[in-house]
């Protein structure tokens, strides 16, 4: 115990120092919540923190602050729990405070801060940390409740728990966190906190949440090396922090978030890689079935098959300026070349490089930099090498296609099955979000931008704890979308229903995916349930608020029963319920094979009675004119058969106005105006709700 104490006090001392230095920098820490100020210890690795903080843009800081606050809140609660349980344990005290790792000049990361992290923080929840919260909360309790263990046992137990906790904290204390600035295509940037245990996939999900992009499989995080003019996309299963730690202090390296079609192209068009020798037309006309077979052959067997690449590439001689041609061959075990005067038989090949210790990078503008024959260059080097070195292998291809072949081939050889696993995971994610966006986009132009405040908060959480967005977060996100567009006249009716959107939106975050998926499939029947599950259910009007007003259209499913808008609209609705019927027309994004449950698709239609299949926007307009067009026929029919809930809804729709709206939202009624006004209200409501929620939690 003494040791632990000593360690903690050491750490504390360090933190204090850092805090002081922080204090001097006025800018950075403006908004720390009161509680935060009290408890938070800033731990910072670099002394030049101030400087780096100054470099941060204000909004970055804000976002960061929000992240941190979210962390704090979580950790506070946790701490409270812990403290109760652990009174006797001396250890817990200091560490409890959440740590702030403010920092960073743009791209660079802050060095790992030996912070005493709040174990409980959501993020930690994901990985190993999970244990800590559990143990801390649970363990303390058990003894008392347990059927009378002897005092000794209890004591022993408590001691054990304390020790465990201490160990966990120690472990946690070692966890590095980096603040990473990620550049987007449009020149803007997002700032994230990345935990050393996080993999790229998790960070990507964070970015999805922050940017509201379409989550397609091409989105990638890349690192650029300014000095060497290199770029490399991170594979989804890679650890995020590790490569960043290799950057030098003063490097101008950056992390980019952008779409890289080549990331998974091999799974979309395997023939381009595995049958690259065939003529272009054959490749282009490749049937889907044949593509599947190729993938199966090469990625689903006992071993991963690497495309058999062979060709002349230009190699930059070690330390020289000249480029020399050599006949290279790619094999699962590495890249080889055929020595002069030898045959191509395997036994004569000379190993050029094996992949265990190198990564493959794209070279940029090497024609200028190294007088390369073309600009289609790639580089193999140890990830830690950041500057010119004889240990870097420079290769140059004749054209872009050849380069893509080689780089992809090398990735397959190096990462093997992981690549395919990554792809499947991304595809799943993309499908879910496509469904979601289908649905949401129609409902409102909302996609756009959520109110800043809300966003900040939500994103904040997301950041800190990328992995496990709490329900709350999800809701908030949803909230963003919805608010804007309360549809006009129809809208009144619609307002009710947010639930659907919520569920849909929930999907994006990690945990939700499953639920989302399920929902989608079973949606029609279960719809009710799912919606109710989420806090924001319209009826309940939970504090969770964010969702309620927003997504008018989508709600339809649930909505009808509770608040039916004016009769007319309902009539128009018909389409939605019968998922099947509606199904075909609506889903613009249908590209996904997923069975977009009717629910999702449906949402859009309701608003505009006129067009069944109508894309969301149309829906809006349509909404204005309630009854007109005959709803999609099929839709109507199916509903009855469907689960009771649907039936209700459908019934109302078909039969017109059956369920009178219990409550009408006047403001919404006004077509255009409604939207705007609603927004403001929504926002404040959301805020309130959030706060409440926080408090509750």
């Amino acid at each position: 115990m003494d040791d632990i104490d000593a360690m903690f006090s050491d750490l504390l001392g360090e933190m204090d120092l850092l805090t002081q230095s922080l204090g001097e920098s006025t800018e950075p820490l403006p908004p720390p919540l009161p509680s935060a100020q009290k408890e938070v210890n800033f731990s910072i690795g670099f002394t030049d923190l101030n400087e780096s903080l100054n470099e941060l843009e204000d909004n970055d800081l804000d976002a960061l602050m929000n992240d941190l606050m979210a962390d704090l809140n979580a950790s506070e609660e946790k701490l409270a729990a812990e403290i109760e349980g652990l009174k006797p344990a001396p250890t817990p005290g200091p560490p409890q405070s959440a740590q702030l790792a403010p920092k960073g000049p743009g791209p660079e990361l802050l060095p790992p801060t030996p912070s005493l992290p709040s174990p409980a923080s959501p993020q930690s929840g994901r990985s190993s940390t999970v244990t800590s919260p559990a143990s801390s909360t649970n363990s303390p309790l058990p003894p008392p409740q347990a059927s009378k263990p002897t005092m000794e046992e209890i004591e022993a137990q408590m001691k054990a728990d304390k020790i465990k906790l201490a160990l966990e904290k120690l472990k946690e204390a070692k966890v590095k966190k980096l603040v990473v600035k990620v550049l987007l295509n449009d020149g803007s940037s997002k700032t994230l906190m990345v935990d050393e245990r996080q993999i790229v996939r998790e960070v990507l999900e964070n970015m999805f949440e922050k940017t509201h992009c379409d989550c397609n499989v091409d989105w990638s995080l890349c690192e650029t090396n300014h000095e060497l003019q290199l770029e490399r996309l991170f594979e989804d299963h890679e650890n995020m922090v590790e490569p960043l730690l290799a950057w030098t202090r003063d490097s101008e390296n950056q992390v980019l978030f952008k779409e890289m079609p080549e990331k998974y192209e091999v799974f979309k068009n395997p023939q381009n890689f595995y049958l690259w020798k065939k003529d272009r037309k054959t490749l282009k006309d490749m049937k889907d079935k044949d593509k599947e077979i190729l993938i199966k052959e090469n990625f689903c067997g006992t071993s991963i098959i690497v495309p058999d690449l062979e060709g002349v590439l230009h190699l930059k001689e070690d330390g020289k300026k000249s480029w020399k041609q050599r006949l290279f061959q790619l094999r699962a075990s590495g890249i080889y070349y055929v020595p002069k005067g030898k045959t191509k038989s395997s036994r004569d090949l000379v190993c050029f490089v094996q992949f265990d210790n190198v990564n493959v990078y794209y070279g940029q503008d090497f024609k200028t930099k190294y007088k390369a024959p073309t600009d289609f260059c790639f580089v193999l080097k140890h990830p830690q090498i950041q500057k010119e070195s004889q240990y870097i292998k420079y290769l140059c291809c004749d054209d872009a296609r050849t380069m893509k072949l080689w780089v992809t081939g090398i990735r397959i050889a190096k990462y093997g099955a992981a690549l395919y696993e990554n792809f499947k995971a991304s595809e799943k994610k993309a499908a879910v979000s496509a469904m979601f966006s289908n649905r949401s986009s129609p409902s409102s132009s909302s996609q756009s931008t959520p109110s800043p405040t809300i966003k900040a908060k939500s994103s904040g959480q997301a950041n800190g704890h990328a992995p496990q967005p709490s329900v709350g977060t999800i809701m908030q996100d949803l909230g963003d979308f919805p608010p804007p567009p309360p549809p006009p006249s129809l809208s009144s009716g619609h307002t009710v229903p947010h639930p659907p959107p919520a569920s849909g939106s929930s999907s994006p975050p990690p945990p939700p995916p499953q639920s989302a998926k399920k929902n989608s499939i079973k949606l029609p029947p279960k719809h009710h349930q799912s919606s109710s599950r989420f806090p924001p259910s319209p009826h309940s009007q939970d504090p969770l608020p964010p969702p309620p007003p927003p997504p008018p259209n989508e709600d339809c499913s649930d909505a009808p029963p509770d608040f039916l808008p004016p009769p007319p609209p309902p009539a128009s609705f018909p389409p939605p319920p019968p998922s099947v019927a509606s199904f075909p027309p609506p889903p613009p994004l249908s590209s996904m094979p997923l069975p977009p449950p009717p629910a999702f698709d449906l949402p859009p239609p309701p608003p505009d009675p006129c067009f069944l299949p109508p894309p969301p926007q149309q829906a809006f307009t349509g909404a204005g004119a309630p009854p007109p067009p005959p709803p999609p026929p099929p839709a109507a029919a199916p509903p009855p058969g469907v689960g009771p809930k649907l039936a209700v809804r459908s019934g109302s729709l078909k039969k017109g106005p059956p369920a009178p709206p219990k409550r009408t939202t006047p403001p919404l009624h006004g077509a255009g105006g409604g939207g705007g006004g609603g927004d403001g209200d929504l926002m404040s409501e959301l805020m309130l709700a959030m706060r409440k929620k926080r408090g509750n939690v």
Binding site: G301, V306, Y391
Partner: protein, 645 residues
């Protein structure tokens, strides 16, 4: 109806016994003939496995309900009455020979199925029988015969799955001898002596490799029809390189034999690989044979635990016992260190001339060095983190040289650092530490001790090698490195040069379990570019020279013998149909897009080629739902040609 005499030779009466003559009518069915025959011989025994064989027509009369007339049998027919199952000497992929009863009357496909059932190999459709290569066989036959494993006493059974007992088929559990047979089947063999490898036939070219494929038996005809006699020798091999649903739990024998076949393919250069790949195969063979000795069964042992997990666990264990103080716990947690005087040399740094003695401390994944032991509490001269570095051995036991070469990455490039150790023990400890550190593991890792051990045993190997230049066959600990690589490398490298190279490859596989190592070996084998190719020399229609057709699990390739290069590839999934003209022995294949090819087969019967293609298509139709029952009919349809229909 006229009665006539039919003479039948009854094998059981002995070779010299005169044929038995029966009076029969043409409408007597085969069953009736057999009945008469048995009555006439007056021998009491189980005749149920016997059947009539029509010698002139090379045909079994298996349909007992058919009348003689229907078979077209007249008085001039010479029939033989004999058992359908006879002993066969079967060369297994692992080089051992087993004697067992095989069906001489059913199509080879079924015969193989029966054999595999007896040997407990799943998916018999992937294997087949071939005639062995004759050369050098005569000399060897004498010593080989001693090694014969005889299981002809195993009763024939028709159960599709043998019942298991003690993890092996019940018939192997009967006696110690049988258990020994099963052990031979299910455990990998120690590396062969280099002389054995050197003596074996090695194909020198693609054409040589093509010749072996002319030896496959026809799956749709019986052994006897193909001239195989009782006690003849055949090889059992995996023929179709499309291994379905490998499950180490059930496939102990299958995996072992597959590994053996792959190993021999590598050693005999039946499949080409690069030097680096050869070293890795060598390292895996070494590891497999070593683990197989210590680990009796193909069972996976628990993977190495994460160090912290293990620390926590041991903590728990401790807590249950005496109450120990937290500081003790912490002691447990603190990583072990290595401290010693070592000589360090940094080639790139001109400041250090030659090796200089330092006090070196190894902790976590870093090395720190100090001028002397006394200064070790101060600032080190330098601290080097080994994570991600490359570690290469440079050892010569005879010359007492124990060098660890480290290539350490830094932003500026790689820095070379050499550590020179005094003796084996010190070297093994530091080397193991460096290896673990390069993978980001600390000394606390559970694999540290085993890493040290494997380094020591490898060094021991080098010792024996340098002593008696590989004369002694593999005995326990001392495995000759020449046993692990193909003879080509015997010439290229001296044993002591080979050892460090294999050791180098070995560091990446030294912690695998037996099953994992076998699987890894198979995976690397399967990812070789030439894997799965069976060659046949053919002559394409309109071409005047011989070319080679490579038959792969998913495609056909055309290889120009002059260039030695693949000139064309056709995939089966583009294939519309294929035909065989049995008269002119030509195969014609039509692919989508109006692509037609035709060729005659030079080194193999076109039935063999036909069967290969049909067989691979059959293999691709297998699916999980149907995997339990083999669709033999489909197989014959795809591979049988006109005879089967």
């Amino acid at each position: 109806m006229a009665v006539w005499d039919l003479s039948v030779t009854v094998e059981d009466l002995g070779a010299d016994a005169p044929p038995v003559t029966l009076s029969v009518t043409s409408d007597l069915h085969v069953g009736g003939v057999i009945l008469k025959l048995v009555e006439k011989t007056q021998i009491q025994q189980d005749w149920s496995d016997h059947a009539l064989w029509w010698e002139q027509k090379q045909k079994w009369l298996l349909r007992t309900a058919w009348a003689l007339e229907k078979y077209g049998i007249h008085a001039d027919a010479r029939l033989v009455f004999m058992p359908q199952h006879k002993p066969l000497k079967l060369g297994l992929p692992n080089g051992k020979t087993i004697r067992l009863l095989a069906s001489f009357s059913s199509p080879v496909f079924q015969t193989v199925t029966g054999i595999c059932r007896m040997l407990n190999i799943r998916h018999p459709e992937e294997l087949s029988l071939l005639r062995p290569i004759e050369e050098k066989r005569k000399k060897k036959e004498k010593d080989m015969s001693e090694e014969l494993y005889d299981i002809t006493m195993v009763p024939l059974s028709s159960a599709s799955r043998p019942c298991m007992y003690n993890g092996m088929p019940a018939h192997f559990a009967d006696s110690a001898d049988m258990e020994a047979v099963y052990k031979m089947l299910s455990m990998t063999q120690p590396p062969p002596a280099p002389e054995v490898v050197a003596k074996q036939y090695r194909p020198a070219s693609v054409v040589d490799k093509a010749h072996i494929n002319g030896r496959w038996l026809d799956s749709s005809r019986s052994l006897l029809q193909q001239g195989i006699q009782e006690n003849d020798r055949l090889w059992l091999r995996f023929k179709y390189y499309s291994f379905y649903d490998i499950e180490p739990k059930y496939d102990v024998v299958r995996l072992t034999q597959l590994y053996e076949q792959a190993r021999w393919a590598i050693l005999l250069e039946d499949i080409d690989c690069t030097e680096e790949e050869m070293m890795l195969f060598g390292a895996l063979q070494y590891h497999i044979s070593k683990v197989a000795q210590s680990e009796p069964q193909l069972l996976a042992s628990a993977a190495a635990m994460d160090d912290l997990d293990s620390a926590l666990q041991s903590l728990e264990v401790k807590l249950e016992g005496e109450s120990s103080s937290a500081s003790e716990m912490l002691d447990n947690m603190t990583a072990p260190e290595l401290n010693d005087y070592l000589k360090i040399f940094r080639p790139k740094r001109l400041t250090l001339k030659g090796y200089k003695l330092y006090w070196v401390k190894f902790k976590d994944t870093s090395i720190s060095y100090f001028k002397s032991k006394e200064e070790c509490f101060g600032e080190p001269i330098q601290q080097i983190n080994l994570k991600g570095c490359e570690v290469a051995p440079d050892v010569n036991v005879a010359a007492n040289k124990f060098l660890i070469r480290l290539l350490i990455p830094s932003p500026e490039g790689m820095n070379e650092v050499y550590l020179r150790c005094e003796d084996e023990q010190q070297y093994a400890q530091w080397m193991a530490a460096c290896r673990l550190a390069s993978k980001g593991k600390s000394l606390a890792d559970s694999s540290y001790q085993s890493e040290i051990q494997s380094i020591c045993s490898f060094l021991a190997m080098q010792k024996t090698n340098s002593g008696s230049h590989g004369k002694t066959p593999a005995a326990d600990e001392s495995i000759n490195t020449y046993s692990l690589v193909s003879p080509r490398y015997h010439k290229k490298y001296k044993a002591k040069q080979l050892t460090p190279r294999i050791l180098d490859a070995y560091q990446n596989v030294s912690l695998l379990t037996l099953t994992d190592a076998v699987m890894r070996f198979l995976q690397i084998w399967q990812s070789l570019p030439d894997f799965g190719l069976s060659y046949v020399v053919v002559r394409f229609k309109g071409s005047r020279k011989d070319e080679v057709l490579g038959i792969a699990p998913n495609k056909l390739i055309r290889i120009d013998l002059g260039v030695g290069d693949v000139v064309k590839t056709w995939r089966y999934n583009n294939m519309k149909q294929w035909n065989v003209n049995w008269d002119i022995k030509q195969m014609a294949i039509e692919f989508e897009g109006n692509v037609n090819i035709a060729f005659s087969c030079v080194t193999a019967d076109c039935k063999i080629v036909h069967e290969f293609i049909g067989g691979y298509i059959f293999m691709s139709t297998r699916s999980r739902e149907k995997s339990d029952t083999l669709n033999e009919e489909l197989f014959h349809k795809l591979t049988g040609g006109h005879e089967a229909l």
